[in-house]
Each structure stands twice: as C-alpha cells, then as structure tokens.
Point group: D4
Chain length 224, copies 8
C-alpha cells in the first residue's frame, strides 16, 4: 500500500459493519490494517469478526486500537524505544507500538517511568540504548516534562507525544504540548495530542531510513 505505511482507519463515527468491510478491503492491498478509536461497545463484535475471518490481531493494551493482519508483519532491523509516564498514557504508547510493528520495526517499551519517580527512568534508558534503539517516543500528559528529561539524558532523536491526561488549566494535553514545543533541550520534535499513531509512523520512518542507508539500498522516490 501507499508508502510502506499500513492502511490506518479512524473508527470514530463508523458502524461496525463499515469497519469490517474496510478491514477486508484494506487487507487486499496491504499487509496489515490498523484500526484506531474503536468504541468499546463495538470491539467484541469486531474481534469476533476477525476470528471468523481467520485474521490475526495485535490489540493495544488499554487502547482502542487494533492491528489486523493475515501473516505477522516481518520485523526488520531497527528498533524504537517507547516510554510513557502514567497509566492513562499507555493506550497512546500502544498505538505507537502497533504502528511500528505494522511498519516492520521492533520496539522496546516501558510504561511506568513518570517524572515524579525519576529514578525509575535511568535503567529504562540504559536498556533502550543497550538494545540499540534508533529513536525514542516519549508519551506524557499533565506537565509533559518527560520528553525534555529523556532528551537531556540520551543522544537520540526524541518524538514527544502530549497525552490528554490532566484537567484544569493546561489539561487535555494542552500544557504538555506547550511544554514539549518549548523544550529547552535540542533534539525533540512533537506530534499532536494523543497521536500515538503519528509518532509511531515518524519513528518507524526514521528506523527505516537508518536501515536502508546502512545497507545502502535506494530508499525514497518522489511520488507524483
């Protein structure tokens, strides 16, 4: 399918029957299809359909997103570190993981490394560097300091994902977005609030570039 990026479907406002049809259609031309924001009530219906259709799935933990495929996408060299601060961020981090998987990247995930308990952050970053990740995705809501702190500790590109955790002034991800855009360290770029899928796509596209150039394969061509 288009650009080595899986079909991504936004389930919001679609009926289960529509979603089922889109999944079937997409798998004709794509290796996998990632369906995001499935309503909790529709999920059982859709998972049942997938089972009956012989599809395999990877369900994002705490997430409303599911990756559907017939054969597990092969995992090529190149890994993404994915890190988040709190329970409410896990679903977004999982969207990034699923997107990486669909784009043939491995990932090392660690989902409980908030700023309030910063000592938990050191061993996690050590493990990611040892595991040779090419880029780190950092998901955080509230004050969003995580992206800045990770970037100050590791020599790698960091993609910040503000999550909508938090209420009051600066809530719904607005404060975290501002903080990440204002980051006083260099090396952080940002995707929109709760856009784990976008972060995964950027991270995987970096991995892919690393992989292709390492092997000197031709990698990109203009499209039109």
């Amino acid at each position: 399918n288009r650009r080595g990026i899986p079909e991504v479907v936004y389930a919001g406002g679609k009926q289960p029957v529509e979603i089922r049809e889109i999944i079937t259609g997409a798998l004709n031309s794509s290796d996998s299809v990632l369906v995001s924001r499935i309503r909790a009530d529709d999920l059982p219906d859709i998972m049942k359909f997938a089972g009956e259709a012989g599809l395999r799935t990877d369900e994002g933990r705490n997430s409303s997103s599911v990756l559907f495929f017939r054969n597990p996408p092969p995992e090529y060299p190149g890994k993404v570190g994915i890190i988040c601060a709190g329970t409410s961020d896990i679903g977004i981090a999982e969207e990034a993981r699923l997107m990486c998987r669909a784009m043939n990247c491995g990932s090392i995930c660690s989902y409980d490394v908030g700023v309030a308990g910063m000592h938990r952050l050191f061993p996690v970053l050590k493990e990611m560097v040892a595991g040779d990740v090419d880029v780190i995705v950092a998901v955080a809501g509230m004050e969003g300091a995580l992206a800045t702190i990770v970037s100050s500790m590791v020599d790698l590109p960091v993609i910040g994902v503000p999550s909508s955790a938090g209420y009051g002034y600066g809530g719904d991800g607005i404060g975290a977005l501002a903080a990440m855009l204002q980051s006083c360290t260099l090396g952080v770029s940002v995707v929109n609030i709760d856009n784990g899928i976008g972060a995964g796509a950027v991270a995987a596209s970096i991995c892919r570039r690393v992989r292709l150039r390492g092997g000197a394969e031709p990698s990109a061509d203009p499209r039109p």
Copy 2:
C-alpha cells in the same frame, strides 16, 4: 507598614519625580520600599537621588527592581531557597530575593541550574537543605519543568514562578504556567508569570510562620 510586608511600588508608567516622592513617602512609615519595573533610562536618575538622600539600596541583578532602605532590614531566622534555570530568569528570581530581604528572611540563591543540565541541580539542592531553607522558589520559563523536578527531589513546599522566557506556542510564560499548574508531583503552588515579588512574599510569609510558631509567638490576627 501593612502586614509586615514592605511597600511595593510598580514604577511602570510613573515619572522619575513621582517615583522619588513615593520612595520618600514610603520610608516614613516603612522600613523599606521595593520599587519594581523601573525603566532602564530612569534608573541612573533614581539611584543618584537615593545616594543624595542618604538611602541604601539593594539592586536586583539583571532586574529592574531595587530595594530602598535607611537601615538594612534585620535578618531573622528562616531562609528561602531561590533557584532559576536561565539567564533570562535571574531578574525575576532577584525580585523574590529582594522581597524576602525586605521581609526579614535570608535566602540561598542559585541561578544556573536548568533542566538541560540537571546534574548541576543535585549539589544545589543539597546545599539548600543543609542551609535549612523552609521553602524553595523555583523560577523557570520555556517548558517550566524545574518546579516539578525540584519538588520531586526535596520534601519542602515549592513555589513555582513561570517566567516569560520563550517564544512561539506556549511562549511568554504560558507554557511554563500550564506545566507548573499541571505538575504531577504534589507540593507545588504557583504565582503569576514573572511575579517574583509575589513568590518572595509567599515564601517569606511561610518562613515567618515557621519562625513565629517555633517560638510560639502570636502571629496573625484578622484585620478589619
């Protein structure tokens, strides 16, 4: 003067002659007067006047605020730690220091401990705790993570002051304010953007309460 708090004068929009008169008037009833936001062009004129009038002064570094007094305000027990992240925050931090001084509190100041160089933060906090500060004022612009990080490391009340350093989205202190209000650690309260004077007043009022209760002196009475 009112409530053990020095007269505070906002110089913005006042002529030097008005400022001089206010200083003279204020020192009749107060031990000191803190003049903030003096225009750079007016400063020499006002300092000269102070010299001729036999006043002593404490000029805030990188700041447009000056404390005027005849006799140095006595320093009672109780200290405030004041910390800031970057060069542009020093003027605001100094406003807090001057306010503490005017309210008879000592202070331990450290003005170069940004999040991007977090290793510089540890010894600074150690020294403040050893120096027995009652409360820490943390001034930071841009992503404003400093207040959160300080609070996660020390068991003391922290007063965050967002500074207007930073441009673009979340600039002018808005992102730092949001981040401090969203702080995921408990123990942080906040004053308005660039309000170093307000932060100093809150910090000194905490010190004063500590001092008075330690010595069991009567301390507060309702006013009207």
Copy 3:
C-alpha cells in the same frame, strides 16, 4: 510511602476491580490511600469492599474522593484553615481536608462564606486565627474573589483553589484562576482548577515544616 505523602489514586478511567486492587496494594506500604474522582456508580461497590476488607474510610462530603486507612492517621500539631464560597465548591474543599488528614494535619473548615455574604467571613477568619492555623486554603469558583479577600484580612499564607463552578465566559474555573493569579494582595499562591488535593498537600507541607522547625527536627533531605 514516598515523602510522607499518602498514595493518591485518580480513579477516572479505572474499573472498580482495578481500584480495589490498588487500594489493597497501596495500604501495604502506606498508612492511607486517597482515591479521587470515583464515579458515583462505582462508589457503593468500593465502599462495600472497604467494609468487608476491614478498612476505615473518610468520605469527602459532596465529593468523589475517599480516604482509606486501617488505623486513623495520627494528628500531629499544625492546622490548616479550609474555606469555600458555595455549595459546588465543597467537594473540592473536602479533598483538601482529606489530604491534610492523611498527612497528619488537623483542619478547621468553613464551607459557606461567599463574597456575596461577606459579613459571614469575619467570624470564620477569627475562629481560624484563634485556632492557630498555619495556612488557609480558599476554594472559590465564579469570580474567585475569596482568596484575595481572605489574604487582605489575615497575615498568613493563602493557597487559592479555583473551582470549576460557573458557566459562560470565564466559566469552568478559568476566571477564578485568572483572578487568583492576578490577586492584588501579596501572599496568595495558587494550584490548578479543582485541585483540592494539591492544595491540601501544599498546606500540609507548610504545616509540617512549621512543626518540624518549631521542634528543630531535621526535616528535608534531597532525594536522588
């Protein structure tokens, strides 16, 4: 548990079964656990569980927060005054009270002292000063003038909590937050909208400092 502050759990988006497990887990290492924003529908289930598990509770009035403990937390010297303006603010004020209780502070609470009936405010403040509170938490929505007025009347640190009462422009706490940050009296610091728990934590940390320094005990050490 961490820093003499009880475990605080945000129930939003968690299932009753998860909440029950977190309570049980937290009480292994903490004296108490404060669960906030419990959905009304889940409350009976959770209270029943607490009863069966032999836990004691303090339910915030008009609030979705409950403090769970096995033995009532001891109350050390040091008190917090907690004041609010209208019926809709009581739940937030109660969060502050519960947090103080969990942090071993007493409190004097008065929940009906709006600005529209200012004469009710004087005796309340008199009682709090007589009761020797170290700090006052003022919760108010709509125009949020309460924090300013309290601070103009009493010589104590005041922590303003904007509440989300109010609709239209400046509603949802935004106007009250702005008013408190703009307060023309000195001595007010602020926590985020509806963040009664944060206000309680700051207030209790001030009380604790007063208590410790009064007795000259060592009180704070850097954490990392």
Copy 4:
C-alpha cells in the same frame, strides 16, 4: 447631536490637524465633543488650538481624553458614583466622568479604594449613597473584585469596567473582565476593557431615565 449623547472621537491614528477639524465641526451641531486616546505628543498642540479657538476644556486626570465645549454643559439632577482601585485605573475612570458631564450628569468620584485596603471602601460608599447617586461605575484591573464587592454592599445598579492593569495570565484586563462577568452578586453589568466612555454613557442614560420618569416627561422614541 445624536441621541443626547455628545460626539465622541477616537483620536488614535488621526493627525492633529484632522482632530482639530473634527472638534470644530462637531461643535457646530453638538454642545460638547469628547476626544479620547490623544497621543501624549499631540496633546499640547491640541490644547493650544482649543485656547486660541476660545474653547473650554475638561482634561481627564491621568487620561488621554479631553472634553471640549463652548459653554459648560448644564448639570441636571441625577448623579453617578465613580470608583476605582489603583493609580493605573484613574484615566479610565476619568473617561466615565467626562462622558457623564457631557451628558449633563453630576458625579461623585473616589479613586483610591482598592480591595487590598477594603476599609477605605466603606466611607466612600456611604458618601455616594448619601449623595444620592443613581448608579455606580466601578473600574478595576488585575483580579477585578471591586465590582463584586461594591455590588454586595449597595442596592444600586453597578457597571463594571475591567481595566487593562495587570500582566501575565489574566493580564491586560482579561482576568478582570472574566471576574466581573462571573460576579456572584446580582446587579452587575459590564462594558469592555478600558471602555470608560461606554460605562459613562450607560450610567448617564440610567440617570437620564430616572430624571425623566421622576418628572414624567416623555423620554424615548424609536428612531428609524
């Protein structure tokens, strides 16, 4: 001129020569003309012109507005109370006073009654009620509590004017506007930030209605 309301000219962006012509023209059909927001540099030029043209003037104190007339506008029964909180609000309050004068209303003004010194407010309100004002204009920046407090103390319509005094979040009058619109007392209506002229016009139109109905004169007719 139109509707018993004087010609009001916004000088911003106009050349002195244009302003002079407008003044002359307006006084052909109006008893007075109120010119607002005159640049400080243009003021001497314009006052000189007025003197030479035999015009009389009422200059607003601390204000960039001036009322021009050939004969002092007669003062009919009906008075407006005008009150403001700080030095920076005086210019706006004066705009209201000039507008009332041009619309033949008297006024009782008191310009130093901030919330931080609330005890100064009581005698001022007493005097206004004794002086039989029909309505009170309350100008305040920063936290804007003044309008609410005045309205809670007196049984009269109150017109709040948020002033642009104040910086940081809620600065430039935004916080005061929100607070006045959110006022928890009933009886307050609001004009835009720094719109002293609008407030004066509303207040004078109330006085005029009181005056006309007291004497049972016909007072208003639809225009088209």
Copy 5:
C-alpha cells in the same frame, strides 16, 4: 430576603430532594424563589411537589427555570422590555422575565425579532417605548447584532445577553459576547453568556431606582 432580590438557586448538581428543601426554606424568608437550570427529568417531580405544597409557580417557556411563590409578587410601576432573536434564545429571555417579576417589575416581551428579519423589529420597539419601559434586555446568540441594533434605535439603556446559540468559531455565545462588548453604539452593557437571571436583576434594579427616585423615596444604603 437579601437586598430586595429573591433567593436564586442553581439546581445544577442538586438532587430533587435538596431542591425541594431549599424551596421550602427560602420561602420562609423570601416572597419568592427562582430555581434555575432544573434538569428536564427532575421537573415533573418538582412541579408535583409545588402543587402539593400549595405553591404557585411561573414556568419559563422553553426554559429550565421556575419561579415559586405563595402569593403572586405585587407589580410596582416600572417596566422592562425583553426581546430575543431566535427560538433557542427564548429560555434565557424568560429567565430575565421571571427575575423581573420576582423583583416586582412588569415586562413587555417579544421573542421573534431576529436581525435576519429586521422589519419585525420596528413595531416591537415602538410598542415598548409606548409601554414606557425603562430599560431593554436584548438576548441574542450567533453574531449578537441585536443589542447593537436595538441600542441604535432607542434612547434607553440596553442590557445585552449573549446566548450560547451557535456552533463553530465564535459559537457557544463567545462571538455574541465579543460583538456586544465591541458594540459601536453607546448605551449597551453586558452580562455573561446565557445569564438571563443576571440581566433581569440589573434591569429590575434600574426600574427600581427609577421608581424610587420618581417618588423621592430613600432607596439605597450601604450594607455592612
């Protein structure tokens, strides 16, 4: 009751049983009580209770507000014109009417005079002027031009009420609020979005002043 203004109760977030108790309590000290924002589901229950308790009611058309009283409030001289633009504004206009009634003012109401059909506006204003109203309340959402247009046509104070009708940018009353505050005619003051009750209170307080001064009765005294 307080200040000749009826008790006003915000039903939002209150249980029917609480509301019933508040009504009963309020009518001990007040002639009437206005309950606003009653949930549609609770209304039958509360109306039934009122019937059984022998209370009389005035239900706002299209509104969630009801006025309760034992004896109809007497109507003194002085009338308010109340005008609105569209179907969705009627409920807010009715809140103003109920408040006027509770404060002993008559009203002349016209609820279908939008700007898109301006020709319907002329006869309505003619009737209001003929009926000798003292002040006009103009409720409008969307572009909020009604207040400006009314004020340009009639020599009376106008109180604008932005209503939350309208979606997209400037929706929820924000655009109407801005337009009313920016009104290029003089003589308009504003209350908050959807605050029909506040508008009624201001209008009635103007009527009351007209009535009292017409008869030279003493009218207002400072409260504390």
Copy 6:
C-alpha cells in the same frame, strides 16, 4: 501574469530598494503590481521612484497599499460594491478597490455607513443595486454587524472583511471575525482580518465569472 491576478507584494520587512526592484520586475510580466503594507517612511521614496520610472499609480486612501502600472488596466463589465463602517476601515476597503481595479473590475465605494447610523445604509445599497454590482464587499471592525445587515437587505453574495479596529475583548478584529462567521443570514462568506486584498480578489473572480459566462466565453482551466 498568473491567473489574471496581478502580482501582489507584501512590503513588510522589505527595504525600499528591494521593493523598487520587485516593482520593476513584476511589470515585465504583469499589467500591474499591487504593493501592500508599505511603511509610511518608505512611501515618498517609492512614489518618487515610480514618477521617475514613468509609472502611473493608484494610491489607496488611508492605506499603505499602492497599485503601480504603465497603462491603466482596462475596465471590463462587472462591478463590485465596497462598503465600510468607519474611518479606520477605509484603508482596508481601498485594498479591495485596488485589487478589483487590477483585475479589471469597476467598483462603487461608500465608506461611511456604520451600523450606529443605519439610515445612511439604505440609499447606499440602493445605489449599488442600481449600479448593478455583482457582489458586495463589507468591511467592518468592532462588532462587525455590517456584513450581516447588508446581507439581510440585498440579494447578492456578500464578502465580509473583519477589520482590526477595536480594542479590549474581541478587539483586533477577533470579534468582527466571529460575528461574520456566525452571521444568521445566509449568503455571507469571509476572508481574514484586514485582508482587503483577498476580499477584492474573491469579488473580482466572481465578477469575472459573471462576465465570462454572460458572454459564454471559456473561463477556467485546471492548472497543473
């Protein structure tokens, strides 16, 4: 030049020498070039250059925009009505007129028809309809009601241009933009604040379409 639209140059931040070069270059390939936002200080220099270079010009009244051409652009059939409310809007209205002229459309302009004096609006609209305009451009700041009112009176497409006249809440064109987007009449579309050039371009493109289709000429072709 491109698409029958003249070269349009934004002079902001360009040196006079650069502007002169751009004008010369543009007139090689275009019939005219419209230079907008020329700083007042640079204008004489640029007009002098134009004179010496034998260029003819059309200077926008009260505007910082000038149209340069060698031969007056021919005026084809099709006219635009251009209307504005106040003195401060004239410069923006003139930008629209210049753009129409450059795009070969005539215009009928009327620059003093504010809402506060609505009776002046009727004859103006009559004249425009009699003059057979195809579309009306309505420029207005502050409460921006003009676009709505014009559209309610005439059966033609109306293009609203919010102008940045106005201060305080909703100032700088924000309130006018909101009001025009919320317009309760159908038939209004909007360009950005102060974008007179954009409005002129849209209006002229409508005229052009009318002209071409009236004569059945082929008119538009896809570009790439």
Copy 7:
C-alpha cells in the same frame, strides 16, 4: 419565501412534533424546506411523517440534514462543484449540495480527494471545469489544505468549509479554519466550521448572479 432562499430549520433542541409542524408550515410559503441537524433517533419518525404527508425528500448522505419538497425544485443553469477530503466531511458537503438544489442549482460532487492522495484531485477538477461549474465548495478538516490547493489549480472562486474532523490541538475545525483564512492563494473565502448550508447558499447565490446577468435579468433589489 425570503430572498429565493429556502426555509432552513435547525432541528437541534426541537421535538419531532415541532419539526413536523415547521415543515408543514414552511411548505405553505416555500418550495422546499431544509431541516438540518436532525437527531439520528428522530430521523425515522420524521421520514415516516414525510411519506405519509406525500412529501418528497432528498436525504444528505452521512448527514443529519434532509430537504423536503412537494415538487422537485427546478434546476436552472449554473452549477457548483463540491469536493471533500475524507469520510467524515461528506455530511457537511451534502448540506451544501442540498442547499444548492433547493436554490435551483445543479452540482458536481466528488467526495474522496484528500491531500494525502493528491493525484486523485486532478481528474476531479478537470471534470468540474469541463462541467462548467461557476464556483467550487471545498470541505476539509484536520489541516484544511484542500481549499488552498484547489484554488491554486483552478481559476474560479473557492468557498472553503472547515470541517470539525480532527482532534487535539487545532482539532474541531479550528486548525482548518485558520489554514483557510491564512490561505496563501487569492480567491478563497470561508464560512464557519461545519457550515455546509452557508457554503451552499453563498455558492448558489454566485450561480444565480451568473445566471441572471448572463440573461440580463434584473436581479437584486434592496429589501427594506
């Protein structure tokens, strides 16, 4: 009916019975009535009523709007191109189509031409130009680039409709609105977020003008 524009009814907040009555009433004086924002639950009820009443309908695909008529509105010369980017925009595009139909214009619609697949855009625009549309309506949410891109490719007036598709910062149509107002091509005007009906009305009024002037019929007269 008014101005050759069909009655348009906003069903939000109206009961089915009210809607039915309004439809019946409107069809007495209008050829058609367009009912927008019908709640999904009410739709069957209303369609059944229409059938029983012998009405014919045109239901917007994916939309909550329905056009009701007795006889299909005649289609006069003049066509509108209607284009949208994603599934979620179709309902809004359909509102524009229905409005055009009610106003006697034909339309050429293409609903799957997002920016991410720009190659699909070329043939669509070719077809529209070949079909001789007078104006193009472009509906797009998220980053809203579609309007700009269409306008850069075709010599016709373009009306941008920001749709509320998209979440996070700039979501709910805010980013698309900003992008369309900022469009760097000339020839784009904008209606409010999700206001497909408004866009249709503007487009049809342009078509109508083209049609009338082509035939030299008199077309517009001032209304009052």
Copy 8:
C-alpha cells in the same frame, strides 16, 4: 561540548560585550557556536569583533543568526533537505542550515517553493531525493500546507517548522502550527514556531543516527 551539539546562544536581551565574551568562552570547549536573534544594530559590531579575533563565520541569509568557528566544521556523510515557502521564511530555514552545519551534516536548500506555485516543488524534491537526503525540514507560515504536501510526495521523515509569517486569525504561526500538527499524512513531526535551530538539531540527530548505524559505530549512551 555537550552531546555533539554546538553551543547555542540566544542573543536577545544581551549586550554586544556579553555576546563577545560568550563567543570567546564557548569556542574554548566547542568547535563552533551559533548565536541567534542578534539585533540588527549589534551585528556590525559583532562581525567586526569576529574578524579581529580571527574567527570565521557563516551568516544566515535574511537571518539574525550567525555561526562562529575557528576551523570549518567537517562535513560527515548524511544530508538534510531544507525547503521553505516564502521570503519571510528564509531566515528560519537558514537557522536550520547553520545548525546542521555545526553538527557536521550537509544540506540541500531550496527557498522558493510555495504551495501557490506547487509545480516548482516537484523538481526540488527530485533533486533532494537524488542527493540522498535523510530527512526534510519544511518551513512555512500562513496556512502551513507545505509540510503536508512534501510528506505526501516523499518517503522520508519530515520536520515541520511553522513560521510566524501571516497576520489576522491564525497569524504569527499559530495557524501553520495547527495545520502541521493536524497533518493528514503520516510522517510529519513538528517543532515550535520559528524554531529553525530546533528543527536543524532534530534533523542532524537523525542524520547522525543514520551515519553511525550504517557504519555500526556505537552511538548513544545515557548521560547521568
């Protein structure tokens, strides 16, 4: 110096003498120092100093940023494509180029490829892909569509930089930021408005990762 990233100095608010000292100091420990936002008035002074001190410089075109070094930084394999839409964006694009240079990356720059002339974009992207860039930085103000369009055409990570070009609603980069965060293509991440330096740092860190992994060198280690 720290992390292979040059010292970056924000000249805003610093005196020339301070800037000179910082440059000298930084070059003791760094290969180069990038000074941004130098005031136009200070530039000659600073360039003269550099010449006298034997420093070499790379001045950003149309920019207020200059890179200072003693020896030209070596250029390692790995290139960045840098693209911008209009004249006003060039200075920001140049900041990215200087940062890449300081971080040892080459760049291919093209500064005149706006969306309004999209045909100019194709050959530019072809050249960049042929030149084997690893990542593309796209700078655009106003409607910010460039980042989306580039990303839809090329299989490479794209870093969007909203520039502050543009006025009115969505001006100052706000609309471009929203549009880039809302980008409907996957593969775009964003830095703050006008933050060309940040974009360069992210791009160079991606290049560096590609370079290191291609050669299998160890690349990143956790820092504290």
